[in-house]
Symmetry: C2
Subunit: 274 residues, 2 copies
Amino acid sequence: MILLDGKAAAQKILDGLKEQAAALSKRPRLAIVVVGKDPVVDTFISQKKKAADGIGVDMRVYPFPTEITTNELRKRIAEIVHEKRNTGVIIQLPLPPHINKQYILNAIPAEKDPDVLSGRAIGNFAVGKSPVMPPVAGAIQKLFEEYKIDYRAKSIAIVGAGALVGRPVALWLMTEGVGFTLITENTAYPEAALREADIVISGIGKPRSITEDQIKKGAIIIDAGTSESAGEIVGDVDADSVSAKASVLTPVPGGIGPLTVAILFKNLMTLAQA
Amino acid sequence: MILLDGKAAAQKILDGLKEQAAALSKRPRLAIVVVGKDPVVDTFISQKKKAADGIGVDMRVYPFPTEITTNELRKRIAEIVHEKRNTGVIIQLPLPPHINKQYILNAIPAEKDPDVLSGRAIGNFAVGKSPVMPPVAGAIQKLFEEYKIDYRAKSIAIVGAGALVGRPVALWLMTEGVGFTLITENTAYPEAALREADIVISGIGKPRSITEDQIKKGAIIIDAGTSESAGEIVGDVDADSVSAKASVLTPVPGGIGPLTVAILFKNLMTLAQA
């Protein structure tokens, strides 16, 4: 089994961005809205900071207390969005459960939304009018390109219909006219759908839940799930279990994660150049 | 095999809308932008006119010559959209091939888009923030409700990833967390995917191309395809062929078509009331 190196592919992108950033008259800035405190979130933010420093892009974290209301947060984001120095604004997820998540995400106009999570940005992407791709979809596309995986002629299963992985990946494939099977908790025969797939793209956030007996011999497994298990970041796939049967696997950490961060900055650069 | 009566279900919706229209202080108006001339398009428009007259809604057709440029058409649509009397504006498809279709569709703001085809309206729908559903998706949902078809626990195949049927139906199912298989021209094993489906939703516009040998015994077949064959409007499904094997079929004409028109006017009413 081949382990795909997401870090190396991410570094290539970041190296290219460094050159582009140097050519701009003004340093782009990524604003990150963070509500509450969480050690896992801190890890994600420090990964982004490292990437930003590496390419010469500014990053500013806007912290808010867990108790902030949806309306107050939306007002504050409107200010952050209007600040000229902020090239792009992202909302660190998850938000506390009392916050109306999509209402908050919709406060970001498409031209400042490198995460492609506002309704406007998703709509642009769905109709083929977006200059940027949802980061996870962009990461997977890049990986397929890098490793010359011809996904168009394959049977693809997407596991999970979440806003961060399943839905944007499904939208991407639809805009390319590529078929797939979307597996959710409601799926009638999930085992059969998974076992027939040449390529599995998973984003459910259930630690190590996909095992050897569930996949096809020689399958390409893209693990875009991240969750915490005993203080570690783990993926949806049980790597030890699938390693004898899959032909290709993206590790967690070091697979889709770093590539997604790189695509986020690629998007920021695209917005800065627009 | 049961033939689902789309006309009857549509009439129920239109009857309800008639009452709602009577309660409004101002008659809603649907504006239809038509480019060029086509007898099939004339049929579609007269069906809409009949529905509009029945519920007491105004309809105004704005005709343009086939040769109009994308820029000129977009300018004219901006005027039509700004006209206060127009509650909703739709673009009659297909447009001539020289017109940039999505750019034209994007000229309609979400609050005047009962067809849910602008990027903005699709984005709102994709993130669960739309008061209206794409008409074909709404039509299929209504039919499932009317005939008590529990689609959530079934294996669903969507045939085609077009902007009018496949994509909006896929988006609808995703927002409900319902899995499905999307079959396109690129699909690796289309026959297997189709033959395993409990419910087939087709929108490819290939006359009578789905036949008995391609479906599962007892399947529910939703034919949302319309094309012209020898001067007749026909569906994607060969009804004579599948009738011995399917349990349920929507006829063409008289199935999804009239229900889609009814949902279009339901959307118009929702926009009028907003």
